[in-house]
C-alpha cells in the first residue's frame, strides 16, 4: 500500500490549506480549549453553539445559494441510519464531555500546546481500529435499522430547502440574541 501512500500533490495542497485555515479559526474561536468545550456542556460558556450555528447558517446560505444560481456544486450528504446516527451521537457526546475535545479540536489543541490532547488523539486511532474490526456486526445489526439513504429534510418533506434555512435563521437569531442578553445580565 505504501507505494500508493500519497494522493496527488494538488489534492494534498488543497487539503493542507483548508486544514491550516480551519485550525487557525478553531484556535481563534477558543474551541481548542478544554474549558470552552466542557463549559458548553455545563451550560456556562456557549461559544461552541455560537460558532456551530453561525457556520451552519452561513454555509447553508452559500451552498444552496450557489446551487440556486446554477453553479455546479455537489452535496455530500451522509446516510441516514436512524439507530446508528442517534446511538453514535449519544456515545460521541459522552466521550467528548470526558475528553473535552472533538476529533478536529483535539488535533488543533495539540498545536496550541495542550499535552493531554495527545493521548486523546492516540485513543482515536485505537477507536477507529476497533470500529473497523466490529463493522461487519454493526452493519448488519445497527446500521440497517431506520436506513433512509442520503436524505436532507428537503428530500424527506418535498419542501424547498429555503424553508428550512429560513426557519433555522429565525430560530438562531432569536435564540442567540436572547442568549447574549442573558449573558450580559449575568455578568453585571
Amino acid at each position: 500500500m505504501f507505494e500508493h501512500f500519497f494522493a496527488n500533490p494538488s489534492t494534498i495542497l488543497m487539503g493542507g490549506v483548508t486544514g491550516f485555515l480551519f485550525g487557525f479559526l478553531l484556535q481563534k474561536g477558543g474551541v481548542t480549549r478544554y474549558n470552552v468545550i466542557v463549559g458548553q456542556f455545563l451550560l456556562k460558556d456557549f461559544t461552541v453553539l455560537k460558532i456551530m450555528l453561525t457556520a451552519v447558517i452561513v454555509g447553508s446560505v452559500g451552498i444552496y445559494g450557489m446551487r440556486a444560481l446554477g453553479l455546479d456544486v455537489n452535496l455530500h450528504v451522509k446516510t441516514t441510519a436512524l439507530l446508528g446516527n442517534a446511538l453514535g451521537g449519544l456515545i460521541f457526546g459522552a466521550g467528548m464531555a470526558v475528553l473535552g475535545y472533538c476529533p478536529g479540536t483535539a488535533v488543533a489543541a495539540i498545536g496550541e500546546g495542550s499535552r493531554h490532547a495527545i493521548p486523546g488523539v492516540l485513543g482515536m486511532f485505537v477507536g477507529a481500529g476497533l470500529f473497523a474490526e466490529s463493522y461487519p456486526w454493526i452493519k448488519t445489526h445497527i446500521l440497517s435499522v431506520g436506513n433512509l439513504g442520503k436524505v436532507t429534510f428537503a428530500d424527506l418533506t418535498g419542501f424547498s430547502p429555503w424553508w428550512f434555512i429560513a426557519g433555522l435563521i429565525i430560530v438562531a437569531v432569536y435564540g442567540l440574541t436572547t442568549l447574549e442578553r442573558w449573558e450580559k445580565n449575568n455578568q453585571s
Binding site: G15, K28, N85, L87, A97, G113, T152
Partner: protein, 184 residues
Amino acid sequence: MISILKKARWSPYAVGTGIGVLSWVTFALMNKALGVSTTMVRAAGAVEALVSEAHIRSNSYFVKYLGTLDEPYPVFEWQFSLVVMLVLGAFCAALLSSTHVREVVPDLWKSRFGPSKWVRFVGAFLAGIVVIFGARLAGGCTSGHGISGGLQLAVSSWIFFICLFVSGIVTAWLLYGKGGQGHV
C-alpha cells in the same frame, strides 16, 4: 490587519462565518466537505497494515476508505492533509497572539479526579476511543456531521448533532455537577 491576527480571541460569530465561508470554498472548488474523523480510520488502517496488510484488505470497513490490494486508495489524501495541517494552523494562531498553553491536567478535571497526569492521560485516551467509535457509528464527527452535514440540512447530521448535545450535557453534569461551572 496584524492587530486582528494578534488578538487572542475572535468573536464566535466571526469564527463561525469564517468556517461557513471556508466550507463554500471546499464544496465549490474542491468538491469536498470539511471533515476529520475518517482520517482516524485511514491512520488506524495504515498502522494495522504494518502488521498485516492482508488483514486490512479483507476488512470491509478499511476497504471502503483504503481500497483493495489490486486497487488501493491513497492514505494521505485531502482530509488526511487537512487534519495534519490543523496542528500548524492552531500553532500559528496561538503563536501570533502568544497564547500557547502547556496544559497537562485541566483545572476542572483536577477538581474531580485529582492532579495526576497519568489519570488524565488514561482518561483522555479512553475517551478518545469512545469519541471515534461514536463518530464512525454515526458516520461523522462535529465537523463532518455537525458543520458540513448540518449546513446541507442532512437528516443524519441533525439527529447526530442533537444526540451529541443531549449526551454531552448529561455526562458533564453527572461528572461535575453545578460546582463544575466554577472551574471552567
